[in-house]
C-alpha cells in the first residue's frame, strides 16, 4: 500500500508549483502497469490533501494501457500485465507505455 506515499508526493509536487492558491482539480496519468491502484490512490489522496490547499480537490486519473514492442517481429501490441510475451512467441519485448506516473495538470482558483 504505497499509494499514500504516492499521494503525498503528488501533494508536495503540486504545492511546489501552486503555492497558496486553492487547487480544485488534480489530473494524474497512472499507467496500468505502474503498480499503483487508482482506487487506493484516490482514497489516499483525500487523506493526504486534508488541511492543504488541495483539500477537497477533484482527482482525475487517466490510466493509459500498457503497450509493448516486439524486437523480434516488430509488432506493437497492448500489454495487459507485466508478462513479456509477444504472440509470435518472442519474449524479447520492450514496454513502451503503461508505466507512467505523472502529475499532468491542475486547476487553480
Amino acid at each position: 500500500m504505497h499509494e499514500l506515499a504516492i499521494a503525498e508526493s503528488v501533494v508536495a509536487s503540486v504545492l511546489e508549483r501552486t503555492g497558496e492558491r486553492h487547487v480544485t482539480t488534480v489530473r494524474l496519468r497512472v499507467g496500468r502497469l505502474s503498480g499503483v491502484v487508482p482506487d487506493a490512490l484516490s482514497f489516499c489522496f483525500e487523506l493526504a490533501t486534508t488541511g492543504t490547499a488541495l483539500d477537497g480537490a477533484d482527482l482525475q486519473i487517466e490510466a493509459p494501457n500498457g503497450r509493448a514492442h516486439c524486437r523480434q517481429c516488430g509488432q506493437d501490441f497492448t500489454l495487459d500485465d507485466l508478462i513479456l510475451l509477444c504472440e509470435c512467441g518472442s519474449a524479447d519485448v520492450e514496454v513502451v507505455a503503461g508505466r507512467e506516473l505523472q502529475v499532468t495538470s491542475v486547476e487553480v482558483v
Binding site: 499509494e3 503525498e8 508549483r17 503555492g19 502529475v103 495538470s105 482558483v109
Partner: protein
C-alpha cells in the same frame, strides 16, 4: 495515515545500534499552507451530484500544466545518493523480500564468511525494533536501523538519513535491507546499484506472478532455504520460468544460508559488483 493498511508518514527513526544514539528524525510531512485560502462553494467540474453545484458565482479556475513525474523528488534524491556513493567507491544493494525469507540471515552469513571480499555495512529497515541491526552488529558489521513506523517501504529520504548515520567507509559494500514486503519497495529508487529479491521455498513458487512488479524490477533473485525443498511443494523450475516471463535477463540463484549450498555463486556475484 492510511486506515486501510496502516501505511503512513509517521515519524521515521534512524538508530545507530551499539551507541547511545537513538536519534529521532521526523520525516518531512509538509501539508502546505493550510486553510489561509478561500474555498469556492463548489467544484467547477461537477458530476451533477451536489445540489449546490450550479452556483453561478463560482470562481473561475485556470489550468497549470505540470507534466511532472510523481516520484521525481524521490528519484532525484536517490540519484544524489548514487553519486555520493559512487564518489566513495561504495556499492549499494537494495535487498527486498517478504518477511522471514532470510535476508538478515543471508547478510549475517555473508559478513561471517567475508563473502564480499570487502567491508560490509548495512542500513536495516523495519517498522519497529532494532533487532536486525543488532544481529548485523553482532555478526561484525556496522549497521543502523531505520524504523519506518507505519510505513511499508524505505524511500530515498530515509536512506539518505540512514547513510549519514551509518557513515560507511570508502569502498564498502552497503546493503539496504528493505522492509519485508513484496509490493511497495519495488516502486522506490534508493540510490542502489542493484536490486535483489530474496524468496524462500517455504513461501510457495507462485510468488513471481503474484507480485510481478517486484520480480520485474530485480537484477537478482535469490531462492533461499533450498535445504527444505524435500519437505515443501516448491517447483524451482516453474518459479524461475515465471520470473523470467517478467524479467528475461534476471540472474537466478537458489541457495541455502543454513547449509551453505550455492553461497559461492552469491559471493562471486557480490565480488563482481
Amino acid at each position: 495515515m492510511c486506515t486501510t493498511c496502516g501505511c503512513g508518514a509517521d515519524e521515521v527513526r534512524v538508530t545507530a545500534v551499539g551507541t547511545t544514539d537513538a536519534a529521532t528524525q521526523p520525516r518531512g510531512h509538509d501539508h502546505g499552507p493550510g486553510h489561509a485560502h478561500p474555498h469556492p462553494d463548489t467544484h467547477p467540474d461537477t458530476h451533477g451530484e451536489l445540489p449546490d453545484s450550479q452556483d453561478p458565482t463560482e470562481p473561475r479556475t485556470h489550468t497549470i500544466d505540470l507534466e511532472q513525474r510523481i516520484l521525481a523528488k524521490n528519484d532525484q534524491l536517490a540519484e544524489e545518493t548514487r553519486h555520493w556513493l559512487g564518489d566513495r567507491g561504495i556499492t549499494a544493494v537494495n535487498l527486498m523480500s517478504s518477511p522471514g525469507s532470510g535476508k538478515t540471515s543471508l547478510l549475517e552469513r555473508t559478513i561471517h564468511d567475508n563473502g564480499a571480499g570487502r567491508p560490509i555495512s548495512v542500513v536495516e529497515g523495519d517498522q519497529e525494533t532494532v533487532f536486525d541491526a543488532t544481529r548485523i552488529r553482532e555478526a561484525g558489521a556496522k549497521a543502523v536501523q531505520i524504523n519506518t513506523g507505519a510505513g511499508c517501504h524505505l524511500d530515498a529520504t530515509m536512506v539518505k538519513s540512514g547513510l549519514e548515520k551509518l557513515d560507511p567507509g570508502n569502498g564498502d559494500l552497503v546493503f539496504l535491507e528493505n522492509v519485508g514486503n513484496l509490493v511497495c519497495p519495488a516502486m522506490f529508487d534508493l540510490g542502489e546499484a542493484r536490486k535483489v529479491v530474496v524468496i524462500s521455498v517455504t513461501e510457495g513458487d507462485d510468488k513471481p506472478l503474484k507480485y510481478p512488479h517486484m520480480f520485474a524490477a530485480a537484477d537478482l533473485v535469490v531462492v533461499n532455504k533450498t535445504d527444505l525443498l524435500p519437505y515443501v511443494d516448491f517447483d524451482v523450475d516453474r518459479c524461475e520460468k515465471d520470473a523470467r516471463s517478467l524479467n528475461p535477463d534476471v540472474t537466478w540463484m537458489p541457495l541455502s544460508v543454513q547449509r551453505g549450498d550455492g553461497l559461492d555463486a552469491w559471493y562471486e556475484w557480490l565480488r563482481e559488483l
